[in-house]
């Protein structure tokens, strides 16, 4: 990533796609780190999912969204929003392209996978989620 750019226009709220161009989610929030030497903030990770978005927006609507999204997740990582490390972020001109496929990011788009696994794939004619 460049050293200086407007996160508001190039990163925040942009569409995320994985290495195979599959839509993954949106950049719902950004995790920054302030270097000890007083340099500009550095992006450590992007957060995605309605939980991160709800927490960022705040207010009653945001809290509700975050709470619902958190309940819809499974596993022990529930308390933390889904994060994608900055190292996995590639080109971000119009879309934010990840350098890894969705399969390598186990917590991202969990609901999409859960629905595929438990609901949609079992029905005739649904196609295959993996191709």
């Amino acid at each position: 990533m460049n050293d200086h750019e407007s996160l508001r226009f190039t990163l925040l709220d942009q569409q995320l796609v994985d290495a195979e161009d599959r839509p993954v989610g949106r950049v719902d929030d950004v995790l920054l780190d302030l270097p000890a030497d007083g340099g500009p903030p550095v992006v450590v990770a992007v957060l995605t999912g309605a939980q991160a978005l709800g927490e960022r927006m705040g207010g009653p609507a945001g809290k509700l969204m975050a709470a619902v999204a958190s309940r819809l997740r499974s596993g022990e990582h529930r308390a933390e929003p889904v994060a994608i490390p900055a190292s996995a972020i590639g080109d971000h001109a119009d879309l934010v392209q990840l350098t890894v496929p969705l399969g390598d990011l186990p917590h991202v788009a969990g609901l999409e996978r859960w629905l595929a696994h438990h609901l949609v794939e079992g029905l005739p004619g649904a196609g295959d989620a993996r191709d």
């Binding site: 709220d13 942009q14 569409q15 995320l16 599959r22 839509p23 993954v24 989610g25 949106r26 719902d28 995605t48 309605a50 978005l53 960022r56 927006m57 609507a61 119009d94 788009a109 609901l111 999409e112 996978r113 629905l115 595929a116 609901l119 949609v120 794939e121 029905l123 004619g125 649904a126 196609g127 295959d128 989620a129």
Partner: protein
């Protein structure tokens, strides 16, 4: 310029879907109601609606060609998640009401054809819609209902067959005032209703999402514009024809339109059984197409807000959150339709609330379309900006006036 067969096919496809998007249950109800009470004195509203929706459909499709991102997608990155969430919730509720109304419209068309009560047709229609969503290639479906939708042209034929006094039609069409015995608030309320029925944001979302899914590129600009220029005015022509036949048959006896059977009755009077059958095919196709479009538009809104995979061209397992949302909404609408809630009343409320939301849907499209940094040489020209701004300003007035008029006139009853 050589015209390739594939271009011709794509052209008919888009044009037909533009007609399908324009004429839906809202139009079938509102146009007949308006024609019976005000003649053609609100036809100018349809003229304005056609120009407005053409401008915004073209703009949002042009944005989609350039950025490969549909209209609602950009609302969030441009105006932030709060604004977009408001728009999402509003349009979700309105479009969900419309799905119920369109689904009832399919069932009512089947009732008129078969004599079997529409509530028995609602679940059957829902199952057919589900199978189409699940399995059928969307382009083929769109082409079928688009072609069948051309049966609506029977309304235009019916105007001639009713042997109208043309000078009276013209005088009515050029008068901007309520007919005697009608009040100004009622007149204005129905003007708002027509705007809501004819400039529906879902047409814009659907058209631009369709442009992304059909992988249109800047080189397809001409094709896209031809679709807009032919499709929407043809839809407007059909709308005015429905108003005209309702005027010719119901106005003088003072009959109020309260049922969708009355929308097609003038065609039966003018052209007999065959005409009625063709009109019913048209109504069926228009409501069936609109059911699919409203369902998908709602799924698109949600999926694009959260960045989910979406698509009618993908197998369901590639876009499970999208597919689940659409299926759940269909189930909910079926349940709502089965409560015996009057679909005509639901339609009127849905289109009035839709008109409230119009400026919120138009604003991001106008902002992005005008942004040279994003759009480059495809940015809005003077024509798009002028028409777009005027349409936006009028839509703000309509949006503010809609609910007070709804309350004041008791939804047009007085």
């Amino acid at each position: 310029m050589r015209i390739k067969p594939s271009m011709l096919l794509g052209f008919t496809l888009g044009t037909l879907s533009a007609i399908g998007g324009f004429i839906d249950i809202g139009d079938l109800v509102a146009d007949a109601l308006v024609g019976a009470r005000f003649g053609l004195r609100l036809a100018w509203v349809t003229g304005f609606a056609v120009i407005g929706i053409m401008c915004y459909a073209e703009m949002s499709a042009r944005i989609a060609l350039k950025t490969r991102r549909p209209a609602f997608d950009l609302a969030r990155s441009r105006l932030g998640p709060g604004y977009a969430l408001g728009g999402l919730i509003g349009s979700f509720l309105v479009t969900a009401l419309l799905v119920m109304a369109e689904l009832s419209g399919i069932a009512l068309a089947l009732q008129l054809a078969s004599g079997v009560h529409y509530l028995l047709w609602v679940p059957i229609a829902a199952v057919v819609v589900f199978i189409v969503i699940w399995r059928l290639p969307f382009e083929a479906t769109e082409r079928i209902y688009g072609l069948l939708g051309l049966a609506m042209l029977v309304f235009v034929v019916a105007v001639w067959h009713l042997q109208p006094d043309w000078s009276r039609l013209w005088a009515s069409a050029t008068t901007v005032a309520p007919t005697s015995g009608e009040s100004w608030p009622a007149y204005l309320f129905f003007a708002v209703t027509l705007v809501g029925a004819q400039m529906t944001p879902y047409e814009m979302f659907f058209f631009s999402s369709g442009a992304v899914e059909s992988r249109w590129r800047p080189k397809d600009l001409v094709e896209m514009r031809v679709n807009v220029i032919i499709g929407f005015p043809l839809g407007g022509l059909l709308a005015v024809a429905i108003q005209a036949v309702a005027f010719l048959v119901f106005f003088d006896p003072g009959i109020r339109v309260e049922h969708i059977s009355q929308t097609v009755l003038p065609v039966a009077l003018a052209l007999g059984r065959v005409g009625l059958a063709i009109a019913l095919v048209g109504v069926f196709a228009a409501t069936f197409g609109a059911t699919l479009e409203t369902l998908f538009a709602t799924g698109y809104d949600l999926a694009q807000y959260f960045g989910w995979a979406y698509g009618e061209v993908q197998p369901p397992a590639r876009a499970t959150r999208f597919t689940t949302t659409v299926a759940a909404l269909l189930l909910l609408s079926t349940a709502l339709a089965l409560t015996t809630l009057n679909p005509i009343t639901v339609t009127i409320y849905a289109v009035v609330f839709s008109s409230v939301l119009l400026p919120f849907a138009f604003l991001p499209v106008l902002l992005v379309g005008n942004d040279k940094r994003v759009m480059g040489e495809l940015a809005n020209g003077r024509l798009s900006n002028t028409v777009g701004t005027i349409t936006l300003l009028i839509s703000i007035v309509v949006s503010v006036a809609a609910v007070p008029l709804l309350i004041l006139t008791k939804a047009g009853a007085s």
